[in-house]
Chain length 196, copies 2
Amino acid sequence: MGTVAWKQLLVGALESNTHLRHSSFFQLASIGTNGKPSNRTVVFRGFQDNTDNILINTDSRTPKIEELKLCPSAEICWYFTDSWEQFRINGNVDVVDGWNPDPLKLQQREKSWFASSLRSRSQYLGPEPGLPSLGEQAQPEISLDPSTGPVDAFCLLILEPDQVDYLNLKNSQRLAFKSSVSAAAKKSWIMERVNP
Amino acid sequence: MGTVAWKQLLVGALESNTHLRHSSFFQLASIGTNGKPSNRTVVFRGFQDNTDNILINTDSRTPKIEELKLCPSAEICWYFTDSWEQFRINGNVDVVDGWNPDPLKLQQREKSWFASSLRSRSQYLGPEPGLPSLGEQAQPEISLDPSTGPVDAFCLLILEPDQVDYLNLKNSQRLAFKSSVSAAAKKSWIMERVNP
């Protein structure tokens, strides 16, 4: 019941804010390799089929990959600016790059690659993010064959939620969702109404 | 020069997004007492006078207080939805509650208290955030005398930036600002243009 409840709230928020381009943007916090918190805006790329796992595309050359491999724990903070709803989603992140040994995960990575626009895909062919920029001039337009599969720099992140904190600033409702895993490895959720 | 540069960019972003109520909201990441990342939306309350330190009001009964006392390092991620600019601001947070021994900090806390609306102030008299909610009914309206000073639950956070990453998604410009402190305790900033 719990899973359905928070996912339904999230799907509802996405629907009611869909007219805003930035409604699919959220902030992903992780722990830096220096032990300090790291926080950046990323784009929601949907749920993994038949799960409530959250998909994010990223460049494997960014520091978050090393960070998440060292410490997979992350927290999403997703604020919907029109409906005044906040979701804090805590969970572990699975880093799926081209060297992943699991063929099913590689298949999911390929699916995410082809689901993104050609323009998004071509960004993974650009110069290494965060390195000193070599000049003022605009980068040459990179042309990418639409049938080309995922390039090395393309990395899929899969966040599996285990705790969700929902806050609605319009009606001051706050709900805390916590998951637990049974001896039979079945995940279930409990929900509690808490003070905002 | 560096300080001026990123602060000027931030002031410019605030000005160009001022028509949006949520332009003063950003996400603050810290490290939870369980060692996992924590991330929530908070409100920008201005800069501390004559500094580039960022002011945030919060409730001393929320977990972030204990978190920041244990590990003062935090990262702000601030995305401006109209100008497509992102600021990632890393620094240490000074927690200024009513028990702070520094009279100047207590004065700053009082100033921040009176600078916030009466409605904001009265929220600090509400039930303890995050605890189970006792009922469906709306909380009774709390009336607060406008001359009453800061209540125990009111806490001021002062983030002193030491690193800023600026990204402009409209022109793909990205700038990295880093501070250093000289032997004479003078803080200076360097700026570098990096790949987006």
